[in-house]
């Protein structure tokens, strides 16, 4: 099943629905051998009904006795709201070999949505942003939500530049319930700026996961001779020599990753670097771990 989590294999699947099902089913099949994770239906608590809750989860027996609406909640169903913030700026279209960063991000988001809605019955939503919010799908568990999310992912084509300020402000305004917020981006921004924009979400009780998606050539670029590099977001050009990429560049990108990791942890967020050649199970495992910790 591990083979179906390989991005190179997933790149050959055109349907996000099928792709997500393949990934999650493969991932879950692997989990069954692990006692650490599970989808137990063990009773956890009663929660008062609030408008918008699915009536299917109302405990009608309790309602008959007390004439009050309570939702019967099970272990593994708390904090059940997943919001994916997908960076769809121009820099995400970079690729040295399939899949591109935006495709990898789509696979990742699709797998998370499928896992959340189909397996966990969590509410899931999507925010596609670049320098502003381009698409917003409210978190919901309603039928057809998965299809809407996949359609939103399909339409998330890279353009413009990245700016975390406006999209995160919009997310804060739209947020009514605590949940898990997953930010998928290449994070070409100063770490302190990124964390400064994300920290308010954390302060409001959300669990934050930062997935930094990078291409292998961005971590260890191979440059044999001087080349003119063009910035995909602002079309700026500079000439770079191979010696720089071998030494100074690597030190800088490593420092950036490390600084982002440390600052994220300091702010109570999870950070993971994902290379586009890396299988998706790490991200799914991280989501389930965080979800269980929130119970």
């Amino acid at each position: 099943m591990q083979r179906f989590l390989d991005p190179e294999v997933l790149a050959g699947i055109s349907s996000l629905d099928l792709l997500a099902k393949t990934v999650v089913d493969g991932f879950v099949a692997g989990l069954h051998r692990s006692p650490e994770f599970g989808f137990s239906q063990e009773f956890a608590e009663y929660r008062a009904y609030t408008p918008g809750d699915d009536l299917r989860h109302v405990d009608w027996n309790l309602f008959a006795r007390t004439e009050r609406c309570y939702l019967k909640r099970y272990r593994g169903e708390t904090n059940s709201q997943l919001t994916v913030l997908l960076d769809a700026s121009n820099s995400m279209q970079y690729t040295s070999s399939p899949p591109s960063k935006i495709d990898y991000a789509r696979y990742l988001a699709a797998a998370l949505f499928y896992l959340a809605i189909h397996n966990q019955r969590d509410a899931a939503g999507l925010i596609v942003f670049d320098e502003e919010v381009r698409d917003y799908i409210r978190p919901s568990t309603r039928p057809g939500q998965l299809a809407r999310l996949f359609a939103g992912l399909e339409q998330a084509t890279p353009r413009a530049q990245t700016d975390f300020a406006n999209p995160l402000q919009h997310f804060q305004n739209a947020l009514h319930r605590r949940g898990i917020a997953v930010v998928i981006s290449d994070f070409y921004e100063k770490p302190e700026t990124i964390i400064a924009h994300l920290a308010p979400l954390r302060f409001r009780g959300n669990e934050m996961i930062l997935f930094q998606v990078l291409d292998p050539q961005e971590i260890r670029p191979a440059l044999r001779e001087p080349a003119i590099l063009v910035d995909l977001e602002n079309d700026r050009r500079i000439e770079v020599i191979p010696e720089y990429t071998k030494n100074a560049y690597r030190a800088k990108i490593d420092a950036h990753v490390e600084q982002l990791r440390s600052r994220a942890r300091a702010a109570g967020m999870d950070y993971h670097l994902l290379v586009t050649t890396q299988p998706l199970d790490l991200a799914l495992r991280e989501y389930l771990t965080l979800r269980q910790e929130g119970d």
Partner: protein, 373 residues
């Protein structure tokens, strides 16, 4: 060292082509997209670095190939040192043709050749040649004096005729490999018959010097010889006046007019004798007819009476085969009456064979023809 075609050296400018390919043409950069230039810094390669050759081994091979081509077209040569220039190559040519048998000619020539060999400088190379019926190159150009001497002493007089054109051709061939001065020492009786018809055939190369050592000193030795014999190789009918005859030419060299006896000898038996008047330094013709020989091969000779210093050329030997004529079946159209005549005439003209083309007026096969079933 110099160049015979120095203008080709100007082609060195062609070496600029690999320099351009490896130095200038390589400096082309194509823009590469990246996600962000956030971690990149502008870096311009120094001009020295830009001008550094790419793929040095390939460049060296390309440049060397062009250079070798240019040098090859420039035709280089190596100028030898003065020491090498003084070294001479001696071609000692000893005439061992038939005329050298006369008297002491050959012995004198060999003695003079040995003396010339002893006189050469120790560092000089020498090569021995024998100029007989066919020029023989007996040694390579070497300095080994004992080897040269033994080779020279081993030469014996032959029966051939010397050819100065063959000698000149050999000297020209030697000059292609030996670029120093060449001394050609010719020990010969300088027969006129050795000269070619065209004087250009005896032209020697520029670095060759001809030194003549004539050995036919004193009065000319008289010689009578049977110069040529004309006889049928195959004879079927001794009574055929056209074919059954032997014609010999008797020549004299350095002799007064004389009456000589010429004999026809068949299988060791003299079958005819004639007297012939041979003019001084002239030729006379003798005919023996008919030629009556037995069936099979017959050893024949035309001999002239002796009395000169060259007994070996007094006899001219030949063979005649006696056999019946071969019958030939000529198949032709009945209406064609001329082809048989023409074909028979063509067969009769052949000198080497005798054929009979019988005529037949019948439509069937001739009586003597019996096809194998």
């Amino acid at each position: 060292m110099g160049f015979l075609a120095p203008w080709f050296i100007a082609g060195v400018v062609v070496l600029g082509v690999p320099v351009f390919v490896h130095l200038l043409r390589r400096h082309v950069t194509t823009p590469r997209p990246v996600s962000s230039l956030m971690f990149f810094e502008r870096g311009t390669q120094s001009s020295t670095r830009h001008r550094r050759l790419k793929y040095r081994m390939l460049f060296a091979l390309r440049a060397a190939l062009l250079l070798l081509l240019l040098l090859a077209f420039a035709n280089p040569f190596v100028r030898r040192s003065a020491a090498d220039g003084n070294a001479r190559t001696h071609l000692i040519v000893l005439d061992n043709s038939f005329s050298m048998r006369a008297g002491e000619r050959f012995a004198d020539a060999k003695r003079q050749a040995l003396a010339a060999l002893e006189a050469k400088l120790p560092g000089d190379k020498a090569q021995i040649m024998a100029l007989g019926g066919e020029l023989e190159i007996l040694t390579q150009p070497v300095t080994d004096r004992p080897q040269l001497r033994s080779t020279l002493e081993g030469i014996q007089p032959g029966d051939g005729r010397a050819s100065f054109s063959d000698l000149a051709r050999a000297v020209r061939s030697v000059a292609e490999t030996v670029h120093g001065p060449i001394d050609v020492d010719l020990f010969s009786d300088m027969q006129r018959s050795a000269m070619p018809a065209n004087f250009a055939d005896v032209v020697l190369p520029g670095n060759a010097r001809l030194v003549l050592h004539p050995v036919a000193q004193g009065p000319t030795i008289p010689n009578w010889t049977v110069e040529s014999v004309e006889a049928p190789a195959q004879l079927s009918d001794p009574r055929d006046p056209r074919r059954s005859r032997v014609r010999a030419v008797v020549a004299s060299f350095g002799t007064p007019a004389a009456r000589k006896t010429v004999s026809l000898v068949v299988n060791g038996k003299t079958v005819a004798t004639q007297k012939v008047d041979v003019p001084a330094n002239g030729r006379a013709t003798v005919d023996f007819a008919p030629l009556d020989v037995g069936y099979g091969f017959n050893r024949c000779a035309v001999a002239i009476e002796g009395g000169d210093a060259f007994p070996a050329d007094d006899t001219n030997i030949f063979t005649v085969r006696r056999s019946d004529a071969e019958r030939v079946l000529f198949v032709h159209d009945a209406a064609d009456t001329r082809s048989g005549t023409y074909f028979g005439a063509a067969l009769a003209a052949g000198a080497q064979g005798a054929y009979v083309l019988p005529t037949s007026t019948h439509l069937g096969s001739p009586s003597w023809y019996s096809p194998t079933p």
